[in-house]
């Protein structure tokens, strides 16, 4: 296990930010950590990365207790913060140099590491420019380079694509995936984008500092999300048929949505009523629905 957390607690005055939270992250896993703002995600991440101290519980990272070997653990962890925390007026190169030195990486070792990151992230053209003059996507590439400067075993991504345009989001994920595949990197991700959590190996949903649900995206969708059949033809016939069987319907101008409990049931319905299944699609329940079902909150609205 790369992360083992047992009964983690952290309060800020009277507010319990993290309350008796336990979970573990396996090596090489992409682990998504979901929750609305204030659910306790960042607090947990800040405890794991050594920024905050905890009130109680056990936290082990890369097999080491964070109290016993904090420096050793910090050398194995990289963090991409929600908002860039690099020095805006310094060049990307100066930023990377100063951060690399904190891990004892300098001189020829730094140059080697930099060329490796340049191959991965295509940094050459932006290295000498001050951060303040870079675009959002370019800044994010530097943030990722900074997080990977110490060749971490665990990469923590705190909402890494929030505020980025779709193309840059794709680029960020392509880089992270490439690095994961090459190095077997473990990634702990918090995100507001449910499509990003859907590709995770494992998902943990927290609400009010407590664990609300966990599992693979597939398991969670099967357990909590509802599938739909969407009809684009023979809407009146379909509405009559499913209405008579007390299914939950949603009629829009050019389609009809029917809530179905599972894919087995869809197969049975098609076999029994083939005449109305001329133009339709089956929509699997997504992570947004899972999150809404578990927490009663829409992650994008809170």
């Amino acid at each position: 296990m790369v992360i083992e957390i047992e009964k983690l607690c952290k309060s800020f005055k009277d507010v319990k930010a993290v309350d008796d939270l336990s979970f573990s992250v396996r090596e090489g896993e992409l682990f998504a950590f979901l929750g609305v703002n204030g659910a306790g995600k960042s607090t947990t991440i800040n405890i794991i990365s050594g920024i905050l101290k905890r009130d109680g519980g056990i936290v082990k990272v890369c097999g080491e207790d964070i109290d016993e070997h904090p420096e050793k653990i910090k050398g194995k962890v990289g963090v991409v913060f929600q908002n860039s925390v690099l020095d805006k007026r310094l060049s990307a190169l100066d930023n990377l140099k100063s951060r690399a030195a904190m891990y004892g990486i300098y001189g020829s070792e730094f140059n080697e590491r930099l060329s490796e990151l340049d191959r991965l992230l295509d940094l050459k053209e932006i290295l000498v420019r001050p951060l303040i003059k870079l675009s959002g996507g370019q800044k994010r590439r530097i943030d990722i380079a900074r997080a990977l400067i110490n060749s971490p075993q665990l990469l923590i991504l705190d909402e890494p694509t929030t505020g980025l345009d779709p193309k840059t989001r794709q680029t960020v994920w392509a880089v992270i995936e490439k690095y994961r595949k090459e190095r077997g990197l473990t990634v702990l991700l918090t995100t507001h984008y449910m499509e990003e959590s859907a590709v995770a190996d494992y998902v943990l949903i927290i609400d009010g500092g407590k664990k609300a649900a966990e599992g693979t995206p597939h398991d969670l969708k099967n357990k909590y999300a509802i599938d739909f059949i969407r009809f684009y033809d023979k809407l009146d016939e379909a509405e009559r048929l499913f209405g008579s069987m007390a299914y939950k319907l949603n009629r829009e101008r050019d389609f009809l949505e029917v809530e179905i409990k599972g894919t087995d049931e869809i197969a049975k319905l098609i076999c029994k009523n083939p005449q109305i299944f001329s133009d339709f699609e089956v929509l699997k329940g997504n992570m947004d629905k899972v999150f809404l079902k578990i927490t009663g909150k829409n992650i994008m609205e809170v």
């Binding site: 990365s49 904090p70 910090k74 913060f81 925390v85 020095d87 007026r89 030195a101 904190m102």
Partner: protein, 314 residues
């Protein structure tokens, strides 16, 4: 060894952050610039008149006006250097505050660098950055004195250099302590404004202490920053006053210049326009002892704050 390399990298980074922030750099030069403008437009003629008044009262007629220009310039320069040692340090230390405000500190807290190394790096970087600015002002000031009237010796320059080292140390420690409690832009602006506007008055840099009422003078003499001004005044002005003595300035006039313009500091007593009656004259070595003693106390307080803050980190 590894921790020293980290310290070096952090110091370099902090200094670069300060000098790359043009606005911050400009703000930190406001106090010396205000003093310079005040001098050119107003103070120069006021002090020249005061010097001439002392000469007149002791029947001395100056044959070399360049010495008088140089004396006024050296008084101004001692004020600028002493005040800048604190005001520039307050602005330069803004790097530490902005690291807290913008959460940049978190990017260092996640690394294996020790909290004490981080705190010490801010102190050293602030000292070096302030020293660079103050020494640059010093060099510009020396060029000015060379143009208007030069009387300083190599020993004077070395002594002033030592004064700058001590004064910047005092300013760096003072700003380090004050700003370790600030974590907002509003707090930083308030402190910068307060220090820039007040410090010059409460250390006797804008006006000679002899012009203050006795009680106020005693209060100002209880503040260690006053001795930073005192040692600089002494080392800047003594050679000029010596030159005037060579040109025939009587002893009473010499004392009047040194006492009236703070090259000699007096604790208590009354100034009658030419010299002090009563009170105790504070020798230069005692000024150093007070200033360095204050630095020692501030250093102990700074270390205590660093330790407590590292322990208290939430």
């Amino acid at each position: 060894m590894n921790e020293l390399i980290k310290l070096g990298a952090l110091v370099k980074r902090n200094i670069k952050c300060y000098f790359k922030d043009k606005f911050l750099f400009f703000v930190s030069l406001i106090t010396p610039m205000i003093l310079l403008v005040l001098f050119v437009t107003f103070l120069r003629s006021v002090y020249m008149d005061s010097f001439n008044g002392i000469f007149k009262s002791c029947g001395f007629e100056l044959s070399e006006p360049r010495v008088l220009e140089g004396l006024a310039g050296s008084w101004l320069l001692s004020s600028i250097l002493a005040v800048s040692s604190v005001t520039v340090a307050v602005c330069s230390n803004a790097v530490m505050v902005s690291d807290k405000m913008e959460n940049t500190i978190n990017d260092f807290l996640i690394t294996p660098v020790k909290g004490t190394t981080l705190s010490v790096s801010y102190f050293i970087a602030n000292y070096i950055a302030t020293l660079i600015v103050v020494l640059s002002v010093f060099v510009v000031g020396l060029v000015y004195l060379a143009i208007v009237g030069w009387c300083l010796t190599f020993i004077d320059i070395m002594k002033i250099f030592a004064d700058i080292l001590c004064s910047v140390l005092f300013g760096t420690l003072l700003s380090g302590i004050i700003e370790s409690f600030i974590s907002s832009q509003g707090g930083l602006s308030a402190i910068s404004t307060l220090v820039s506007s007040m410090y010059g008055f409460i250390c006797g840099a804008y006006m000679p202490l002899s012009q203050f009422a006795s009680g106020m003078r005693t209060f100002i003499c209880c503040l260690p920053g006053t001795y930073s001004v005192g040692i600089m005044r002494n080392h800047f002005m003594t050679s000029y006053v010596d030159k005037l003595t060579e040109l025939g300035l009587p002893q009473v006039g010499r004392e009047g210049l040194l006492d009236g313009f703070d090259a000699n500091l007096h604790f208590g007593g009354d100034f009658n326009g030419l010299n002090f009656s009563g009170g105790v004259q504070i020798p230069v070595w005692a000024m150093y002892v007070i200033l360095l003693g204050a630095c020692l106390v501030l250093f102990a307080a700074y270390i205590a704050i660093v330790i407590i803050k590292n322990k208290k980190r939430k």
